[in-house]
């Protein structure tokens, strides 16, 4: 998925927080790239490091509390080295973010219009009137009826889906080149979810922006992403095109994720298979592969590697598909075909 000039390039990103209980390794050596017009889906459970990664790209971590190393190149500039002032020019203009719960992410005391105008005015020296015109235009674009009237209403006067549309209008008001959507449909009804995803895709086509879609919902990924990055315990465990990762997954964790999703084509009586155990503590990760205590296929004992060595993310035979797993590729492919694939996978 690496391209010659991807708009965003993250290289070996590490983010650590010092807490009283110890150092939290929230992100531990993650690399990926997204080019304009493409969508990267980042999947993982809570605590896998996906949201921390996205906040790093926005430069929203408190630099005193979060130790960040590696590189985050936005249009070639490493934002980890940018002073706060320069970073503010990137935020909201070149890179913008859509948050999970629009009710809590919008300020309850200001009208929708005011909040969009504010987002526009930070980056444009234009009159309030012009910004308001732009805000109404954006509200109209995201499908809010009577945008001029709705602009003067407060977030609590909007329905959940309309609020998320307004949030999207606010994020896109400056035509950002990269949009980070952090679980944008999780707080919404299923029917509204589909509308919001369609809207995002539409807008992406129109503005040719890059999208990072953070979610735990593989259905969302297969619907809108071009590439996928599966994260576990702060590391990338599998990455590749949606086609290859969803159809021919090679990491036992990805198998687990896929098996825990109901399938439209599968047998209705079939049970969903949850992944046993809990996500690991990021302060005290299991030794070796962080997934080994929950992995059915882990090779343990007698000097076998799963709890001894951290597996590297290595390219498999299929182009653009990498997996971090000690199991031999042949065995992974076979195991998936025999044990997992028949159980039906969300596509």
């Amino acid at each position: 998925m690496a391209d010659q000039n991807p708009y965003l390039q993250v290289k070996d990103l590490r983010v650590q927080f010092k807490t009283e209980d110890g150092v939290v390794k929230a992100v531990d050596g993650v690399s990926f790239a997204v080019e304009r017009g493409k969508t990267l889906g980042i999947v993982g459970e809570s605590g896998s490091g996906k949201s921390v990664t996205s906040l790093s790209i926005m430069g929203l971590h408190n630099r005193k509390r979060a130790a960040m190393t590696g590189e985050i190149l936005v249009d070639g500039r490493n934002i980890l080295n940018l002073p706060e002032e320069k970073l503010r020019e990137v935020r909201g203009q070149q890179v913008s973010m859509i948050f999970q719960d629009p009710l809590s992410a919008l300020h309850p005391f200001y009208t929708i219009g005011h909040q969009i105008v504010e987002a526009h005015q930070v980056h444009h020296k234009v009159s309030k009137k012009e910004s308001r015109k732009r805000a109404i235009e954006m509200l109209d674009r995201v499908g809010i009826p009577q945008p001029a009237k709705r602009a003067d209403q407060y977030p609590h006067e909007f329905s959940g889906g309309m609020r998320q549309r307004a949030m999207i209008a606010m994020s896109l008001v400056n035509n950002p080149n990269l949009i980070i959507a952090d679980e944008p449909t999780t707080a919404l009804d299923v029917t509204v979810q589909a509308q919001i995803l369609d809207l995002l895709l539409d807008l992406q086509r129109e503005f040719n922006s890059a999208i990072i879609m953070i979610t735990h919902d593989l259905g969302v990924i297969s619907q809108i992403a071009d590439d996928v990055l599966v994260m576990y315990g702060g590391r990338a465990v599998e990455t590749g095109t949606v086609e290859s990762v969803m159809r021919r997954p090679q990491h036992p964790y990805t198998w687990g994720l896929l098996s825990s999703v109901p399938s439209l084509h599968g047998d209705a009586n079939e049970d969903l298979v949850p992944i046993k155990g809990n996500p690991p503590s990021l302060i005290n990760l299991p030794s070796g592969c962080a997934f080994n205590p929950r992995c059915r296929y882990a090779m343990l004992g007698d000097g076998r590697p799963c709890d001894l060595e951290i597996p590297q993310l290595l390219q498999v035979q299929e182009r653009g598909h990498s997996v971090a797993c000690h199991l031999p590729e042949q065995e992974r492919v076979q195991t998936y075909q025999q044990d997992i694939a028949h159980s039906g996978v969300a596509q």
Partner: protein
């Protein structure tokens, strides 16, 4: 809005009625003996006490006395009998058992004093406390934050009668660098009013600022972790805009709440502060009236204090609707 105000006013009237009944009843349920207090230690015999009781109707059933008191508010009344009778025009809250002066006149004299103390110290405490609280929340863990926490703890532990007396003793009497606390009406001598009120203001203001600081800090810390503050930062706003326009604006309603309730409480008389600084306000009046079994003044000061508390509760509720668009008065 109008319906809301009518409803709240009705509730306020009922509250005040209940308080007046309770106060009246409590006064007689205790060992109060106003007649003995009035007749003085010397030359007081049973006949004289009897005469006082009779002339003021103090031995009548409580509900009759209460009825007379209440009707006096609307129609005015004559207190005492024969040539000694005192005319007390409506709204009559009775006359002082001690000086026979209408209670309303006494209250009118005390109210500006209490109001001066209340407003001045409330302004100092809210400005000092809120800015300290916000600054320490923004620089969490820094020296200012540590100072602010220490200040809040000290302020909450110190009592006004201790700090007030100490400051008076040191600053006013020993070092002679501060004016003696006294009340002059601001209309007569504005500078004199300022200098005379300054010590009570500073003492009460700084002590209550501790409460604000603690409160504002906790509130700000909570709001700074809200999603909409993160959104504001994600828009690329300056830290100043994020902190003031987004975070402080959101914490305003709780700050206004304590401000309103504190001011309402103080307007009814800051009993300890006024006693400590010997200021002739409502609070000191109330303390003295209780010691003197001076029922009309006790009633008036209790009702006045209750009135301000009720009034400011309504004002605070109405302020919510102004501050927070989600709140609708109904």
């Amino acid at each position: 809005m109008l319906r809301y105000l009518i409803k709240r006013s009705l509730i306020a009237v009922i509250t005040l009625l209940m308080i007046s009944i309770t106060t009246f009843w409590l006064f007689f349920a205790g060992s109060a003996n106003p007649a003995a207090q009035m007749c003085g230690a010397k030359a007081c015999d049973a006949a004289k006490i009897e005469r006082i009781n009779k002339s003021l109707g103090l031995k009548d059933p409580i509900h009759e006395q209460y009825g007379r008191f209440m009707s006096g508010i609307f129609t005015g009344r004559e207190i005492g009998e024969g040539a000694d009778a005192i005319k007390c025009p409506a709204p009559c809250l009775g006359v002082s058992f001690r000086t026979s002066e209408p209670v309303l006149d006494i209250i009118e004299r005390g109210l500006p004093v209490s109001a001066s103390i209340a407003v001045g110290s409330a302004v100092i405490s809210v400005l000092l406390g809120v800015s300290l609280g916000i600054a320490s929340a923004l620089k969490r863990g820094g020296w200012l934050d540590k100072f602010s926490i220490g200040f809040a703890l000290t302020g909450a532990s110190l009592q006004i009668f201790f700090l007030g007396l100490l400051l008076q003793m040191v600053l006013v009497y020993q070092l002679k660098i501060w004016d003696r606390p006294r009340y002059v009406p601001p209309s007569e001598d504005f500078l004199g009013w300022l200098s005379g009120m300054s010590l009570p203001w500073v003492t009460l203001g700084v002590l209550s600022a501790a409460t604000y600081a603690r409160f504002a800090r906790a509130e700000m810390l909570e709001i700074l972790s809200e999603d909409f503050v993160r959104t504001a930062r994600a828009k690329g706003l300056t830290p100043r805009a994020v902190n003031i326009k987004h975070a402080l604006r959101a914490s305003l309603s709780s700050i206004v709440t304590i401000f309103g309730l504190q001011l309402g409480g103080l307007l009814g008389g800051a009993a300890i502060t006024e006693t400590t600084f010997d200021m002739p306000g409502i609070g000191k009046l109330a303390v003295k009236a209780v010691g003197d079994d001076n029922l009309p003044i006790v009633m008036a000061t209790v009702l006045l204090a209750a009135f301000f508390v009720v009034l400011f509760n309504v004002i605070v509720d109405a302020m919510y609707a102004v501050i927070d668009p989600r709140v609708k008065l109904s």
